[in-house]
């Protein structure tokens, strides 16, 4: 039985207001301003392997975080919490193990939970990376009108809420790729064509808006033909 946990929704922020002024560019920014950020980056990459998981599951492990965990410790903070989620899901570490070890490093004397019996997903990728060769014909072609479906994904998805229900035009047929919605939950690779779709900003946002084109690369399952 595969347990599908929902996303919290905090990551899907495209089109939202309330975030204030655009950021200031720091031309002298270093890659990892704090040492732990580099360690968290590396630990997260390795935790995907150690947990027997994959990149889509890792993204979803971050998208499950609540607002505080997603934002308050920055980008690598959410990477670390996401990595912990993967390791907890696969029972590589026990709940409370990180907190107990942190307390002991800080000079405490806390009992640490025993190492659990691991429970990695019963899954293996059919190849490296996300691109696959498939025989299925392309459902859509360049210039065709398509609508981003309105989907209520139970778990992971890469279909942004601000595109849902809106009609655009296929601009590029991209290589076929595995579907994050099922791959993140180890159900199936579901390799399928991906299309970069062009939306007019006035189609996306009904109110007065700037005039621009929004292009985004969407999986075939996210799209339906539109007239």
């Amino acid at each position: 039985m595969i347990e599908i946990q929902p996303a919290s929704g905090v990551a899907d922020m495209g089109g939202d207001s309330g975030w204030g002024r655009a950021p200031i560019i720091d031309p002298d920014e270093v890659v990892f301003p704090e040492k732990w950020e580099g360690r968290a980056f590396a630990l997260a990459l390795l935790s995907m392997r150690v947990s027997g998981s994959n990149l889509d599951a890792f993204r979803h492990a971050m998208n499950r975080l609540d607002r505080e965990h997603y934002f308050d410790d920055g980008y690598y903070g959410r990477w670390l919490y996401g990595a912990e989620n993967l390791l907890l899901d696969s029972a590589i570490i026990a709940p409370g193990a990180v907190e107990a070890r942190a307390a002991n490093i800080a000079g405490g004397h806390v009992d640490e939970p025993p190492v659990p019996e691991s429970n990695k997903p019963d899954y293996a990728p059919t190849a490296g990376g996300s691109i696959r060769q498939i025989d299925a014909p392309r459902k859509f072609s360049v210039g065709q009108r398509v609508r981003a479906k309105t989907m209520n994904a139970p778990g992971h998805t890469r279909l942004q809420k601000y595109t849902q229900g809106h009609v655009g035009t296929v601009a590029i047929v991209e290589p076929a790729q595995i579907l994050p919605d099922t791959h993140a939950h180890f159900i199936a690779e579901n390799a399928q064509w991906v299309y970069t779709v062009s939306f007019d900003s006035r189609e996306l946002y009904q109110e007065n808006t700037e005039n621009f084109t929004l292009n985004t690369d969407l999986y075939e399952d996210y799209l339906e033909a539109a007239s």
């Binding site: 089109g15 655009a22 040492k35 630990l43 070890r101 601000y162 991906v194």
Partner: protein, 198 residues
């Protein structure tokens, strides 16, 4: 929602990271030297200098530029740049008529082999949320005032395709060598929130 809930007292992130590293290293699940290699790779070896070489070559070699626009992944691999987050690269060209800018609203997908890891501004929720709604205003706030008749195209990464902006070559650089041109190209221009100046 998250399983990784903190106790009532928040654990400082340096301590939390050290704790997880210890738990994995002491069981032989993670090799700290491999961690060091990952960190050093993105601190020292893989960064915007790669992308700048691609741009300078495109500015000086029209045949390469055509290959770059037709098949970004293949042309970029000619220069030896590939790896994680670079499985399929699409290059979009800025001109006086069209200005392209790249975002990942859902996380912070970024073409690592060409630009390294994303900078803070790219990961900022104000950038992620607003550049797909009011890009002209966001770019102006970030210091790039575009002419009103320049069309804007925003590219939001959903799949494993990674978008890369070929900036406009600045005027007055006709005499510069490829290496001198590469030195002018900034990370921010290759995402589309700045232009290259001579």
């Amino acid at each position: 929602m998250s399983k990784a809930q903190p106790s009532s007292d928040r654990i400082p992130m340096n301590l939390r990271t050290e704790a997880l590293e210890q738990l994995l290293v002491e069981r032989g699940l993670v090799d700290p030297q491999v961690m060091d290699t990952f960190i050093k790779t993105y601190e020292k070896d893989v960064g915007p200098l790669n992308g700048a070489q691609v741009v300078a070559k495109a500015w000086t070699d029209p045949e390469f530029k055509q290959r770059l626009l037709d098949d970004g992944t293949g042309a970029i691999a000619e220069l030896g740049f590939k790896g994680p987050q670079g499985e399929h690269l699409v290059v979009v060209e800025n001109s006086a008529e069209v200005h392209n800018v790249v975002v990942c609203t859902l996380c912070s997908c970024y073409p690592w082999p060409l630009l390294g890891l994303p900078p803070a501004w790219y990961k900022d929720p104000a950038y992620r949320s607003r550049v797909v709604r009011e890009p002209r205003t966001v770019l102006a706030e970030m210091g790039l005032e575009l002419p009103t008749d320049t069309e804007i195209t925003v590219w939001d990464s959903s799949s494993e395709v990674r978008f890369f902006v070929l900036p406009q070559r600045p005027p007055g650089t006709e005499e510069l060598s490829e290496a001198e041109l590469a030195a002018l190209v900034t990370r921010d221009a290759m995402v589309g929130v700045a232009q290259v100046s001579a």
